[in-house]
């Protein structure tokens, strides 16, 4: 028996064991898991550190004063309590074993992976629910499995979960359960799971109302269901309404205002396209009366798709949010007469999604996602110093990119109208398997290949070894004043020091003295005087130090001082937000250690 034949038999036996049916094979599953595991460990966004880190407030017994308590640790939480409660439950082992004992964003990488594991597990479970929903739709086992696989491998969803690593899946998981029971005709569970989903992300309410009104035409029952679905949200709202931090950060969370950005100025007010279109969709669902279950399925997916277009096509979005509509777009594609074209559109969709993301969240949601993965330690404070994904992907015209993205959303939504659907939901999609695979591999490659290139170039010197967070505010005028930033060199030879200068929008004829001093011995190792007259706008200043040799792992101080300024002729420096537990650097002024950094970058070679 040849080796090839043996391998074929082995694959066949595994296929049988896993109950995989052609055209899906064990290799498809293996490939998915391999890439998922690699991405799981390699990429992560920092938001989860804040959110999961905040949850320890609950584990420290601060239930009603949760938001205030976390504020003491510099963590100002902007989600409703349910997200933190979910993470609190998940983090009980960390707290019990004393690995993390207080709200913090500074945790080892394995803790980050622990945090990430929860949403990833829910992502897999969601795949199973998609399978159950597909079965409920009478797609048949085989097609339902392919549908679930197409959901799990949908590039934008995969990116959101394994690369960006956020927790929108909490909402989606509850919504999918709600939708499953909606199709099963179990109204109570439909309301229950949507009610649970809403406090995670309000988006769920925007799907709930049209879905409800598609089935329910009695006004009182509609009102009752809407009240019921709002109860968990209202309960949390009432529990925390007295908290100032809650009011400011949760109720004042700016992103809910995105819905008003795209609007029509009528003179009296600006009419939000999102609100108008969404209400029209909701009304459409009320006036539409599908007579059979198949009609409900087709119309519900079509209307949900339209809501998806309305929210993400007509207002600003964050990359992780798109996950919320992925299963509905996949399910509706599988009911369409032409499933294949939507698999192709998904690749294009991913292309414009990545282009938009790496350009709009430049320095955050791009190659920088590697920094919070297991390889992040290698890059100290920066990976973007030499090459960035946006440079590699070239296209930077955001209007064009976003127009294309919105257009693709619209196409993906509109052409799922019930009249374009198959009559028999179990109609085969075997011929789409090639495109499903290409969509997964090709779609991910759009992000992974440029990210990998950035990774490789960042491994060669010089390195950005110290980089503080984004500018928060200026430190007020530098008038007869000295402010110092402490840092620890990583490589030994400082090539450049960059800092952010504030000018108060004028040209200031003052001299800024910059001294690098050994903090322990007070020995001056570098001195520079810069005249500030040429700068009249806030800007990053680069100081070429010409290869300043310092001892790695030892603390140094950069002293910024200015002694010839006045009230209307002075510069300032920018600082980061207050953070407790500053590990790598901090500011000293008047002998006092302050809980923030100046906005500084240090570039070193070995």
């Amino acid at each position: 028996m040849s080796a090839g034949w043996e391998l074929t038999l082995k694959v066949k036996s595994i296929n049988k064991k896993w109950k995989l049916e052609k055209p899906m094979t064990f290799l498809d599953v293996l490939l998915f898991f391999m890439i998922a595991v690699i991405c799981f460990f390699t990429f992560e966004h920092s938001d989860i550190l804040h959110t999961a880190g905040s949850s320890f407030g609950y584990l420290n017994g601060h239930f009603l004063d949760f938001y205030e308590y976390n504020g003491e640790f510099g963590l100002y939480d902007s989600y409703m309590p349910i997200t933190y409660l979910t993470f609190a439950l998940w983090n009980i082992p960390l707290r019990l074993f004393g690995i993390v004992t207080e709200p913090t964003q500074v945790v080892p990488v394995f803790v980050v992976m622990w945090y990430k594991l929860l949403p990833v597990l829910l992502y897999f479970l969601s795949g199973w629910i998609v399978y159950k929903i597909a079965l409920e739709m009478n797609m048949g086992r085989k097609k339902a499995k392919i549908c679930a696989y197409a959901y799990l491998t949908m590039p934008i969803g995969f990116f959101s979960q394994f690369i960006f690593g956020q927790y929108d899946i909490f909402t989606l998981f509850c919504m999918l359960l709600g939708y499953y029971y909606y199709l099963k005709g179990k109204n109570k569970y439909f309301i229950l799971f949507f009610a649970l989903a809403i406090p995670y992300k309000y988006f769920a309410l925007l799907l709930f109302v049209p879905l409800l009104m598609l089935k329910e035409k009695n006004i009182w029952k509609i009102l009752k269901s809407i009240i019921l679905v709002g109860i968990p949200y209202l309960l949390q709202y009432l529990l925390y309404y007295n908290s100032e931090v809650f009011k400011e950060y949760v109720l004042g969370f700016g992103v809910t205002g995105y819905a008003f950005a795209a609007g029509l100025d009528t003179g009296a007010a600006t009419i939000s396209y999102v609100i108008v279109v969404w209400l029209l969709i909701a009304a459409w669902s009320y006036f539409e009366r599908p007579d059979q279950k198949a009609g409900v399925i087709k119309w519900s997916l079509f209307l949900v798709g339209m809501v998806g277009f309305c929210i993400f096509g007509l207002s600003q979005w964050h990359p992780q949010w798109l996950l919320l509509i992925v299963p509905f777009f996949v399910l509706s594609a599988f009911l369409n007469q032409n499933t294949k074209i939507f698999m192709i559109i998904d690749i294009l969709w991913m292309l414009f999604f990545v282009l938009f993301t790496v350009n709009y969240w430049y320095g955050r949601v791009d190659e920088n996602l590697i920094l919070y993965g297991v390889l992040g330690e290698k890059f100290g404070s920066g990976i973007s110093y030499k090459t960035t994904m946006r440079d590699i992907l070239i296209l930077k015209d955001m209007n064009l990119i976003n127009s294309a993205f919105t257009f693709l959303l619209l196409v993906s939504a509109v052409f799922k109208h019930p009249k374009f659907c198959v009559k028999e939901f179990s109609q085969k999609v075997d011929d789409c398997m090639g495109w499903i695979r290409a969509r997964f591999l090709g779609g991910l490659a759009i992000f992974l290949v440029p990210a990998f290139l950035c990774f490789v170039t960042a491994l060669t010197p010089p390195f950005m070894t110290f980089k503080t967070e984004k500018p928060y505010e200026h430190i007020s005028g530098m008038i007869d004043r000295k402010v110092s930033q402490v840092f620890i060199p990583q490589k030994g030879v400082v090539e450049k020091i960059e800092f952010m200068l504030g000018t108060f929008r004028r040209s200031n004829d003052v001299t800024l003295n910059i001294d690098v001093v050994d903090k322990e011995t007070e020995r001056l190792v570098y001195h520079e005087e810069l005249n500030m007259k040429e700068y009249d706008r806030d800007t990053w200043i680069t100081l070429e130090t010409g290869g300043l040799c310092l001892s790695p792992k030892k603390e140094y101080r950069i002293d910024f001082s200015c002694y010839d300024a006045a009230g209307d002729n002075c510069i300032t420096l920018f600082r980061t937000q207050d953070r407790k537990n500053q590990k790598n650097g901090y500011v000293i002024e008047g002998g006092e250690i302050l809980p923030y950094n100046l906005c500084i970058r240090i570039i070193e070679t070995n």
Binding site: K217, I219, E244, E248, F260, G263, L264, D265, T266, G267, A268, A269, T270, I271, S272, I275, V276, W278, L279, L280, A283, W284, Y286, F287, S476
Partner: protein, 599 residues
């Protein structure tokens, strides 16, 4: 003849509430319009506009039809010598006389709705319910009995036109629309699609369009020589509202209202119909779309919405789900009132009491101690307007004939609960908060300054002071309130507050507040214990802080620039308060409220 499900009590309730609102609420515009009409009664026909403007400083802004109608109505006033010349203000019973004319036409319009409903085949019983629903539509009822305007002149004629439209009497259809256009131009926007729906011959369309414009043209030709007519009537700003919502192509802005209306007209032309039912369904569908376009895509004034009411109601009665539109009417009323009381604060809100029968109890000045907008809480007009526009389009789009009844006479008896709930609930949305405001206003202390709408915080008070200048209206200063920003921190500073006579700097009241007790965005209340002040002079409230630093200071909130406020509300009362910041008078207020009472 009252037929079930309508009962005698329904009519009695309507009558009682209508009379109560008729007497209690009124807006001031009617005094200007009806007051202007005496120019005609003084014999100034061709120089009407110039005479009113030059002799009485009253600047009419409507076409002559409106003033002529009022002139005829006011003949008894002139004959009995109650009012003999154009006057801006009028006594209560004179206002009620003015108001009686549009209210009578409103009631007759209800009868016309009944007639139209009958003509299109609803049958007597359903037609009566339809007329009742028209009369009790909250927005229409508010427009007529509370706001008390005269848009009903247009509607009355339009309804007559529509009645003859369905009676296939083209001449009278054109005639009544022609008469309505000089009252308000809206009717032309309905006339064209209605005409095109029936008439496909281009020459006849042109002929009808010319005929319908004749009365307007006649009035235009008669008065075009008048500079006041040209400035105030032809230059009336509201007609340009249709250009606000547009698509900028780079070279010009394409008006969405004009484009959408044009498309509706074209749709009407290309639609070929046969039966009376089809005509009724398409006519009301297209009219509803026109209404959605003109009120949904451009700015509107509260009383204009009355124009839409007959079409909403008749359209709903042709629909297979009448009930949902009755429920939506309630929602519409809520959004409409929130928009109105926020967009026209101290004008179209609790202020409507001022010209009603109880106006004298509050000295024709209800003040702003508690405003209806405070009760409704929501002040985000973008959201409110978005919802309103969406509702307008929902009410129009889903009245497409495919959603309509095949048998127009299908009973709507099961909707009677919603019809009653819609009337009582809808009216309560305005009346209850208005009454609460009235009660609050009727007890001292009274608000004399209410700069409540914050725009942003002023610069931090670091070794500096800001001030608010105001003129009292009563003799005792009871309380001062102001809004502070603490930057979400505890500031260890002392805030000094002095009330001084602005000219002499003589201190009449002084206090200090520990800055660490202040909360971010808090309205701080200071009870002065009753300081005597002189309403004939200006006072200044100085807020000073002689310590503080960048990270340890508070600041006060300020309002928007005043020009903007005045532009939005030209009829706002003259404001004599202002802030002083960095030693210079500013064109805005600090967010300060001053409460006073009589001695």
């Amino acid at each position: 003849m009252i037929e079930k499900p309508l009962k005698k009590i329904d009519y009695i309730l309507f009558g009682i509430i209508a009379v109560a609102c008729f007497l209690t609420f009124q807006q001031g515009d009617i005094m200007h319009t009806a007051g202007c009409s005496y120019g005609y009664l003084q014999g100034h026909f061709l120089d009407f506009y110039d005479w009113d403007a030059n002799a009485y400083n009253m600047w009419p802004s409507y076409m002559p039809s409106t003033y002529l109608i009022y002139a005829i109505w006011n003949i008894p006033m002139k004959l009995f010598g109650i009012v003999t010349k154009p006057e801006r203000y009028a006594a209560f019973w004179v206002i009620m006389w003015y108001k009686l004319l549009p209210v009578s036409l409103y009631m007759i319009s209800g009868f016309l709705i009944y007639k139209i409903a009958n003509v299109i085949g609803m049958g007597g019983k359903k037609a009566k319910i339809c007329a009742y629903v028209f009369l009790t539509t909250p927005i229409g009822f508010f427009s007529q009995f509370m706001f008390g305007q005269y848009d009903i002149f247009t509607i009355f004629l339009v309804l007559l036109g529509i009645y003859y439209y369905f009676k296939d009497n083209k001449k009278l259809f054109i005639l009544f629309f022609a008469l309505s256009i000089p009252f308000k131009y809206f009717s032309l926007l309905l006339f064209i699609p209605l005409l095109l729906l029936k008439e496909k011959n281009i020459w006849r369309i042109l002929e009808s369009t010319i005929l319908v414009a004749l009365p307007y043209l006649l009035e235009l030709v008669l008065y075009i020589g008048s500079p006041v007519f040209r400035e105030c009537v032809l230059g009336f700003g509201a007609t340009s509202y249709v250009y606000n919502a547009s698509i900028n192509t780079g070279s010009v802005s394409l008006s969405l209202v004009i484009m959408a209306w044009g498309m509706i007209c074209a749709w009407a032309y290309f639609k070929n119909l046969n039966t009376q039912t089809d005509f009724a369904q398409w006519a009301f569908y297209l009219c509803s779309l026109v209404i959605a376009v003109i009120f949904g895509l451009s700015q509107w004034h509260p009383q204009w919405l009355l124009f839409a009411v007959p079409f909403w109601v008749l359209g709903a009665f042709l629909h297979r789900d009448t009930k949902i539109f009755l429920a939506l009417d309630l929602l519409m009323m809520l959004i409409y009132i929130i928009f109105t009381v926020n967009t026209w604060p101290n004008h179209v809100d609790q202020e409507l009491f001022s010209w009603g029968i109880f106006g004298d109890y509050i000295y024709k000045d209800i003040g702003s101690k508690l405003m209806m907008r405070d009760i409704f809480v929501i002040t985000d007009m973008d959201m409110i307007c978005s919802i309103f526009t969406a509702l307008l389009f929902i009410i129009a789009a889903f009245k497409h004939p495919k959603y309509c009844l095949s048998n127009i006479a299908t009973s709507v008896d099961h909707c009677i609960g919603w019809i009653r709930g819609r009337f009582l609930g809808g009216i309560a949305i305005f009346v209850i908060p208005a009454v609460i405001c009235f009660i609050v206003a009727a007890v001292p202390p009274y608000v004399s300054l209410n700069a409540y709408q914050d725009l942003s915080a002023t610069n931090g008070l670091i070794n500096s002071q800001v001030a608010e200048v105001f003129t009292p209206k009563r003799e005792i200063l009871e309380q001062i309130q102001f809004k502070v920003a603490t930057y979400q921190r505890e500031n260890k500073i002392e805030l000094e507050i002095n009330v001084v006579e602005h000219e002499t700097n003589h201190i009449v009241y002084s206090t200090t507040i520990d800055g660490s007790t202040l909360k971010d965005n808090q309205w701080v209340k200071i009870n002065t214990g009753g300081v005597e002040i002189d309403p004939s002079i200006q006072y200044r409230i100085d807020f000073a802080c002689y310590d503080g630093s960048a990270n340890n200071c508070i600041s006060l909130y300020r309002t928007r620039e005043k020009e903007k406020i005045e532009k939005e509300d030209k009829k706002a009362k003259p404001d004599i308060s202002y802030a002083i910041v960095e030693g210079r008078p500013q064109n805005y207020d600090l967010c300060v409220k001053v409460f006073e009472r009589d001695k």
